[in-house]
Assembly symmetry: C2
Homo-oligomer: 320 residues x 2
């Protein structure tokens, strides 16, 4: 997250969350501690906590009660990343070696479990039944999204609906829930927190589509992993689905597997970029962004609304 978008008070609250995250993963077990710190170091944009803070502004904002929600959500996200890297056999995450790469798959599995368990501990401090229901449902959906992803790997005959359902579960839902739960934890009206959920959902869809585009248009340095890695790992994303509609291009995409060489990938990436598939994917991302802004416009005119709008456009234009 580009922190310049936030006001100085919000920045201070963001630091509270960041410190709490460090506390959250502390463990008397050396290995677990090292593995979790490795993950925390890899950083990430922390967009979920930022959305929690901002959406809480639509209710009675209190950083001490909001922080539990923010930390719980970011920990759930971190846990899913660890298990995701196991599935993808990923060696790098944001330029840092993954836990499964440094140690092994099994350590990674339990580090994920442990971080998820830590998130439950934070949830314990949230005294709101609705928040608990939303959170546990979100974890179930995230798990189903991960299983979708395994099932759909290298399944080249999947359709757009499969893709959208997968990214909803994988990404959009947790962002939607972050936007909703800040408001719920701050006691905002149902009308408000439902709109924030929708805003987060649309932003999340837009965000993931751009992420999937960047896998083709980003450099290895920007991505922290080689370009085209998603495709090589069998993750069929929106640009790939569009590119496969091109009958000349389709056969070479169908041949991709984990043994496809870097040289072959360079050719395929360049062909996908020249097929118009990237532009089509961008236009879907923009469509979601537009829907997000439309929902946002219906919310009360507070300062946080302006920041959410800035973040939405920032996400729409991000390069990595």
């Amino acid at each position: 997250m580009k922190l310049t978008l936030l006001s100085s008070t919000l920045k201070a609250d963001f630091d509270i969350i960041e410190k709490e995250m460090e506390l959250a993963i502390q463990s008397e077990m050396g290995l677990l501690q090292k593995a979790s710190v490795q993950l925390l170091k890899a950083g990430g944009k922390r967009i979920r906590p930022v959305f929690v803070l901002l959406s809480a502004k639509f209710g009675t904002y209190n950083i001490q009660s909001i922080k539990n929600t923010a930390v719980a959500l970011e920990l759930i996200h971190m846990a899913s990343l660890v298990h995701d890297d196991v599935i993808d056999d990923a060696q790098l995450r944001r330029g840092q070696p993954t836990i499964n790469y440094i140690w092994d798959e099994r350590i990674a599995m339990y580090t994920g479990d442990y971080i998820l368990a830590r998130s439950l501990e934070y949830m314990t401090n949230i005294h709101n039944a609705l928040a608990h229901q939303i959170l546990s449902n979100a974890i179930i959906e995230v798990c189903m999204g991960e299983i979708d992803q395994i099932k759909d790997k290298y399944r080249f005959n999947q359709n757009l609906r499969d893709y959208f359902r997968r990214i909803k579960r994988k990404t959009a839902l947790l962002i939607a829930v972050s936007c909703q739960l800040g408001a719920v934890s701050a006691g905002a009206d149902e009308k408000i927190h439902r709109k924030l959920y929708k805003f987060g959902y649309f932003i999340g869809m837009s965000y993931q589509i751009i992420d999937d585009i960047l896998d083709f248009t980003g450099s290895e340095k920007e991505l922290g992993k080689p370009a085209g890695e998603d495709l090589r790992q069998g993750n069929i994303t929106l640009p790939v689905l569009y590119a496969m509609k091109n009958e000349t291009l389709r056969p070479s995409i169908l041949k991709v597997n984990e043994h496809t060489t870097n040289e072959e990938m360079v050719d395929i990436i360049s062909a996908i970029k020249n097929s118009g598939a990237i532009e089509k994917a961008y236009s879907v991302s923009r469509m979601y962004l537009k829907k997000a802004i439309t929902v946002l416009d219906e919310l009360p005119p507070i300062k946080a609304k302006k920041i959410l709008r800035d973040i939405a456009f920032y996400i729409g234009k991000r390069k990595y």
Copy 2:
């Protein structure tokens, strides 16, 4: 669990839990549904739900509110079994093929996550902050126990303390918490639920030691997996730790690894059985059982107390 130990009303309540477990794992995802049903079919003794029901009798017993606690605990246990089987590369669990064997490690990983997430959903229905704290702490400890187990595999120079800490986290804690949470959910006094925790802890230690003994003394049919499999997988249990004190036996144990043949295992198992290590392990198990009975004696004289006592002795004498 030998259901003849339970009264007919308790049996009816037990059936409610069993049906709820079936509902709990239902999923619109075919694969997930199949994997979870596979696990449920493998059954198990369901001792955690039974302990929840019985300990709830020390408070204001209401099956509808208790059942959430019982189901949540059994689901946590099931999730840990799935991940456990991945770690152990187990092909069979209670005579049924494991999820990692039928599908693969990755599907098993997310089935475990999914079942854990389902347990959170049940926890959502428990409106008691103390119960939530106890449960989330228990999940953290179970994860740490699993990581302990990975770290301690084939580490032949570990000591008794390592073993006891591991089985506490791996088994005893969740049984302790089952006994405690039934009472907590039924609004029993702190004095009562703390004693029930202790009772469960001692029973759990006794139970796991016997489990570790049966790995040597049980038949393949009784165990649902070959005898000596724990040792072959590098899990150093109490009988092994005692057998290693025998200088003649020690070198052949140190040589065990996952490639040790069935014939070699038969010799080692027989040597361990003749070393007196099994009897020593049994006496520790009995010591824990005695402690459990002593704590139980301090509880009010209700009918459930008698059943808990019967279960304790049943566990002490179980053959598989």
